[in-house]
Amino acid sequence: MADRKKFYTGISLLLFILFIYWADSSWDGYKLRIFNLCGIYIILALSLNLVNGFTGLFSLGTAGFMAVGAYTSALLTMSPQMKEMTFFLKPLIWPLNQIQIPFFPALIIAGILSGLVGFLIGFPVLRLRGDYLAIATLGFGEILRVIIINAQGLTNGALGLKGIPKYTTVWWSWGLALLTIFLMVNIVKSSYGRALKAIREDEIAAQAMGINLFYHKITAFTLSAFFAGIGGALLGNLITTVDPTMFVFQLTFQILLIVVLGGMGSITGSVIAAVVVTILMEALRAVESPMTIGSLYIPGIPGMRMVIFSVLLMVVILFYRQGFMGQREFAWEWFSRKGRRHEQSAGS
């Protein structure tokens, strides 16, 4: 059975890689852009899900970590000439104004730096719980943004960065998304992941079982910040320009929406919800443009998309609290009769 599952996984992975190849060669720029965003949002959603869903820590700092990642990667990959032109009010500090490195190391550095920031923030903040943790991480996200606005010699302040090389392709975003999924599945299945779930279910019981609460919380938080940084870097190198107003709380909300819709504590849920929400965000543009139904003319109402998403979130949280997947994961057994029975007994 295990062999057969591995075989299925391998085949579908291969099919998916062929699909990416096909998409990359035949889709237009608009579809590819959305497809790219799907991959990036998967990474971001998994990052948030690791702390919120699996460890039960309600963190709202994702946007701040994304900012760290996006700025790091941008400053490392931009060409010195472009930097000189962009920083026209106050020159960029040495040695950053001379450096230009390839995308891959820049991504890794972006992730590591973001993880480091997460680690430093986690140290004081993770002693807090529940609502206090939420508001403190939100506060840190905001503080990071304030620092970016003020550190003009490093970040160009409110003027933002322009002319970041467009390195992000579907291969990068989906390749890293698949890698993140793979890592996340392994983390969650490991004894470490089981410890995280134990903390989520009952901190005191987990502690009594000999789980080192702080160690587990801070590694989860740091890992989450690492992935958020990678996601931010991919986003920055996709839209080729960043500025502090990008990383406001609304961005965290959007990712939280994905995690909640997909199900807190489900990797499968986050992946599916990330794809669906990203596509819906574009597909729902239809409700904002003027429509004629028969002879009835409905003028466009800008802003309806966000209303729909807010309502969707409220409906899910009130009536369908588990989200789409709850805490369940995809399994090949779904497709066999036997498996379904097996799953029913194993589920819940």
Binding site: N52, G56, F58, P124, V125, R127, L128, G130, D131, Y132, A134, I135, A136, L138, G139, F140, E142, I143, V146, I147, I149, N150, I204, F253, L256, V260, M264, I301, P302, G303, M304, M306, V307, S310, V311, L313, M314, I317, L318, R321
Partner: protein, 297 residues
């Protein structure tokens, strides 16, 4: 810095601080009972200002009537929010109710954006509130007196209500322990609704005062005051009414003094509030006036 200049900064700080205090009291009431950050509190403040705006603009009401109607309608909205979004989740994990609070906040903001439009509107200022008084070079608005006085009166009424009436006793019991309070025959749903009604009415008063002081309204106006007043409530000791007042003043004075004394750090003004919050949470999680409570197991 001359003494006169310092005095002016002090007046500015008290003026801002008393506004924070006024709103923080409403926050602390709700938090004290439900232990929930009501993210929607700031948006309820925003709705209160819009109700006044439309009351005066469309129905040409006199301003005082518009204020009263706004307080009543806002109270109804607050209670409805609790009924619809928080009550069904009373037994759900904490994280769910927190997400629900964020969701309500975003729903109100986005709905307001669609209905009211994104362009900032001007809040009506009756002349008696904006009269400028000059004390030997220190100038202040009459509103600077009115806000602390209003806050003081409300503070007195609320402490009386909470400490000396039966309802207040029920509130305190509910805040301490839902189940026990229920066993004692307290209708906790009614008590929570009442708390939300009071909290929202306070939000409306705070919102109106805010509008009079800073007469620019748009759908996102409530976010920052909401967050900062929550911080003020935590600093003073969450659930503690005089504490909220104290926290508001500390935050308001602190912000003004930061800009006044260290002008190079002006850009970090918003960071100041959050850093203060984090320090307080780490050093004294129950706030300055809060009593120490043992962790429930």
């Amino acid at each position: 810095m001359t003494f006169q200049l310092f005095l002016q900064h002090l007046v500015n700080g008290i003026s801002l601080g008393s506004l924070y205090a006024l709103i923080a009291i409403g926050y602390t009431m709700v938090y004290g009972i439900l232990r929930l950050i009501n993210f929607a509190h700031g948006d309820i403040i925003m709705l209160a200002t819009y109700i006044v705006f439309f009351g005066i603009l469309i129905f040409s009401l006199p301003w005082w009537l518009a204020f009263i109607i706004s307080i009543i309608l806002t109270t109804i909205i607050g209670v409805t929010v609790e009924r619809a979004a928080y009550r069904p989740l009373r037994n759900a994990p904490r994280i769910s109710i927190l997400i629900s609070a964020i969701g309500v906040s975003f729903l109100i903001e986005n709905l307001s954006l669609v209905i009211f439009g994104g362009r900032a509107k001007s809040f009506y200022q009756p002349h008696i509130f904006t009269k400028i008084i000059n004390f030997g070079g220190v100038s202040l608005m009459s509103l600077t007196f009115i806000i602390p006085v209003t806050a003081g009166i409300l503070l007195y009424c609320l402490t009386y209500l909470v400490n000396h009436t039966k309802t207040g006793m029920a509130m305190r019991a509910t805040a301490r322990d839902f189940e026990t309070a229920r066993l004692m025959g307290i209708d906790i749903n009614a008590i929570i609704s009442l708390t939300f009604a009071i909290g929202s009415a306070l939000a409306a008063v705070g919102g109106i005062m805010w509008g009079l002081r800073y007469p620019q309204i748009h759908p996102f106006i409530g976010i920052m005051p909401g967050l900062k007043c929550f911080i003020a409530a935590v600093v003073g000791g969450i659930g503690n009414i005089p504490g909220a007042m104290l926290g508001g003043f500390i935050l308001g004075l602190g912000e003004i003094m930061l800009v006044a004394l260290l002008p190079t750090l002006t850009g970090y003004r918003d960071a100041f509030a959050f850093i203060l919050l984090i320090i307080i949470l780490l050093v004294r999680p129950t706030g300055i006036l809060g009593e120490k409570i043992a962790e429930k197991v």
